[in-house]
């Protein structure tokens, strides 16, 4: 259990919480889209500091978690080849494919390397012209532009031994799919701040209006989350459903125009499967025709790998906010970080990993001292955070 005194600015956290407590009159369910936000929420016990009427539902915003099993299997197949240097971000190493992971491939002799940036993989390709160098291109709109630039550079510099295994996903179609689900309980969204740093907010007004849900662009720090919740609850109580930017220090409404232009050049929108959820229309990117030569799936003929996901992993329900991690029968028994059934347990941004790491067995035990509104508190009309 965390206490409000552990916040970076406890006085401000108290004021934000008091305002939320003073505002809410009815039950509301908000979804935080980003896995980084989920970890902040669980780590600081923010869900337990909020009024009981405000429920936070964990969204699908962990790129590692939503990468389909068959893409992991394709990565493992490519990484096992003797002429391949397979480059990845570190958080993919322990994500289970069918029977093994990249960590094991390396222990079996595969040349798997972890890079900080996709440009590092390109440098490795330049230094190893006799090897095929493949970069594992996963991630949301924040990660896609760096990978796009890397493919663009490979083409510009004429580096033939570099390719990208692409599994990029887009947030707005996921929000659309969540809202269309008959079992959807989400009434408002805390949108992922760094996705919006790239994309801006242009995709959200139509979503907010059509589904009548407030969408508040929110950062990752504890106070950012509280401010996002405060603004979303205020809208809901007033019957409003607009897009609000609570992370203005890092998000311009227009996003990053140079990154958007590169995305449009290198990638094109495609349907994509999400692990545990299934195919969501227009929810991903693939390399555009001009860059198709750099597609590792075709270069290594792994397009035929189709893997069925195990039924005992219920991460799909966790990713859609239909199940809390600790409500899964396998949580902590069949499924642990050392022996995960699904990526949500092993990713540093996975919801199951957050519940395991912070030992969250049950919800609802709230320290009274941390939640009681103070008499001296006053409602906040202006945002103190941005």
């Amino acid at each position: 259990m965390k206490y409000i005194e552990e916040f970076q600015d406890p006085a401000l956290a108290r004021r934000l919480l008091d305002d939320i407590h003073a505002t809410v009159t009815r039950p509301w369910a908000l979804m935080e889209v980003c896995g980084g936000q989920t970890h902040t929420i669980i780590r600081h016990g923010i869900d337990q500091l909020l009024p009981e009427l405000v429920e936070l539902i964990h969204g699908p915003g962990c790129p590692v978690c939503v990468t389909p099993l068959e893409v992991i299997d394709k990565a493992l197949e490519i990484a096992s080849r003797p002429d391949v240097i397979f480059c990845s971000f570190g958080d993919m190493l322990r994500v289970p494919g069918t029977g093994r992971d990249l960590f094991q491939v390396r222990s079996e002799g595969g040349d798997v390397r972890v890079v900080y940036s996709p440009l590092d993989a390109l440098r490795i390709a330049q230094e190893n012209p006799k090897h095929q160098v493949v970069f594992f291109g996963i991630g949301f709109e924040t990660t896609a532009p760096p990978n796009a630039m890397t493919v663009h550079q490979a083409k510009k510099l004429g580096i033939p031994n570099f390719s990208l295994l692409v599994s990029h996903v887009r947030v707005p179609p996921a929000i659309e799919a969540i809202m269309q689900s008959p079992s959807c309980r989400v009434q408002g969204f805390l949108a992922a701040g760094h996705v919006c740093s790239v994309m801006g907010v242009r995709e959200y007004p139509e979503l907010a209006a059509r589904h009548r849900v407030p969408i508040v662009v929110t950062g990752f720090e504890p106070l950012d989350i509280l401010e996002g919740v405060r603004r979303a609850v205020r809208q809901l109580e007033r019957g409003e459903h607009t897009v609000d930017n609570a992370y203005a220090r890092a998000v311009r409404p227009e996003g990053n125009p140079a990154a958007l232009a590169m995305l449009e050049d290198v990638f094109e929108v495609t349907d994509r499967a999400w692990r545990g959820i299934g195919v969501i229309p227009d929810s991903g990117w693939r390399l555009s025709e001009r860059y198709r030569d750099f597609d590792a799936e075709h270069r290594f003929s792994v397009t035929g790998i189709n893997t069925r996901e195990p039924a005992e992993c219920r991460s799909g329900e966790v990713l859609q906010g239909l199940l809390k991690p600790h409500e899964c029968e396998a949580f902590g028994t069949l499924c642990t970080p050392r022996s995960p059934l699904g990526a949500t347990m092993v990713s540093s941004e996975g919801a199951c990993a957050a519940y395991y790491l912070y030992r969250r067995l049950e919800l609802g035990t709230v320290p009274a001292a941390a939640t009681a509104p103070t008499a001296a508190s006053a409602p906040l009309e202006a945002s103190p955070v941005v």
């Binding site: 259990m1 965390k2 970076q8 980003c34 896995g35 980084g36 780590r43 915003g61 962990c62 790129p63 590692v64 971000f89 570190g90 958080d91 190493l93 322990r94 960590f103 972890v114 900080y116 940036s117 996709p118 440009l119 590092d120 991630g139 949301f140 924040t142 990660t143 532009p145 760096p146 630039m149 550079q153 510009k156 510099l157 760094h194 740093s197 790239v198 990752f220 720090e221 220090r249 890092a250 998000v251 311009r252 990053n256 140079a258 990154a259 590169m262 902590g332 028994t333 642990t336 970080p337 050392r338 092993v346 540093s348 941004e349 395991y356 790491l357 912070y358 030992r359 067995l361």
Partner: protein
């Protein structure tokens, strides 16, 4: 991986026709591509994700975030040895129902950002 970290530009150069910078993240320095923020200057702060500067950030916000990330051990997660982290993945045995024990407190390995003199 999803998280982006604020950093301060130390110097700017060019590599393979691309604008690159050395960026300091609370003591760790990395090479960062500036193609998406082409007017970023030495001394300024930006949010950096997987080696790319994505959005300018004011100095105060950047320093606060870096300090928080250092306290939470997130800089170590971002810049530490990924093989060691992958090998250590697994945590303690479960369940903790009878004895929840203390919450895990990450050790801040990297120093919080120091006050710096502007150029």
């Amino acid at each position: 991986m999803c998280l982006a970290v604020p950093g301060r530009v130390l110097d700017i150069g060019e590599k393979d026709g691309t604008r690159m910078a050395t960026v300091d993240f609370g003591g760790v320095q990395k090479e960062v591509c500036l193609e998406y923020l082409p007017d970023l200057q030495v001394g300024e702060y930006a949010i950096v994700h997987v080696g790319f500067a994505l959005q300018r950030l004011d100095e105060e916000s950047a320093k606060q975030t870096l300090e928080l990330f250092a306290q939470l051990g997130m800089l170590q997660e971002e810049f530490g040895d990924p093989w060691e982290q992958a090998a250590a993945a697994g945590g303690d045995p479960w369940p903790f129902a009878d004895d929840p024990g203390p919450e895990p407190e990450p050790t801040p390995v990297l120093a919080a950002p120091q006050e710096e003199v502007q150029p």
